[in-house]
Symmetry: C2
Subunit: 129 residues, 2 copies
């Protein structure tokens, strides 16, 4: 009963996770500087969010230095998969295939990207045999 599965990150939390994935383990200052390039969020806001995310188990904190160092507890891809599964469940009747097809048909994809997807399909088809 100790570690149940991680909660879905909120928008703000996801923005922070993005920085942590990009930069690796970071201090509050690091994250704040990165996020403040365009928007404007106070330092203590980021701090508070990271504290809450620590409680939730979304990040882990290293307190050995004065400036605590945070890192994402779950990898970027794992989180992405989680979010996709969640969205498929909530908005696509649980069908990931429907999700993929909707995503594909609703925007312009250039030839290179289409090829990359095609190759991925080939790989998957090989596996499913």
């Amino acid at each position: 009963m100790s570690d149940r599965q991680p909660p879905r990150p909120t928008d703000s939390e996801l923005a922070i996770l993005g920085v942590l994935w990009e930069r690796g383990p970071s201090t509050v200052r690091d994250v704040h500087e990165q996020l403040n390039k365009d928007g404007s969020t106070g330092y203590t806001t980021i701090l508070k969010l990271l504290q809450i995310m620590t409680e939730k188990g979304l990040v882990v904190r290293d307190e050995t230095e004065r400036a605590h160092v945070y890192q994402s507890r779950y990898g970027e891809q794992k989180t992405q998969r989680q979010l996709l599964a969640d969205l498929a469940e909530r908005a696509f009747g649980g069908s990931a295939t429907k999700l993929v097809m909707q995503a594909l048909s609703s925007r312009k994809t250039n030839a290179a990207e289409l090829n990359a997807i095609r190759e991925l399909l080939d790989t998957l088809e090989g596996e499913s045999r």
Copy 2:
């Protein structure tokens, strides 16, 4: 300044929209009965949510009858596209292609589904020429 773009529906709102898309225009009672098959939400909870959704512009209300009739203001696919674009933006650095590839590689897809996706790719490739 009148109609800005619709807000992202919350989880509960999305559940209600799901019913409206499936059933078409419905009363609060209709939605409530549909959603209460498994979970347990009170009648007035659904009512309140639909009132809020009306304010937000997610649904439109026909008040000619005593039991108001609600319908989704935006189609299912349009909403799905919106949600996908939003998720791509928030979690995939704005790349819908990354989203698709992650969705494809993170689960088992049967042969028929893979073929359907392949055909879709063919169609898209034709268009992009």
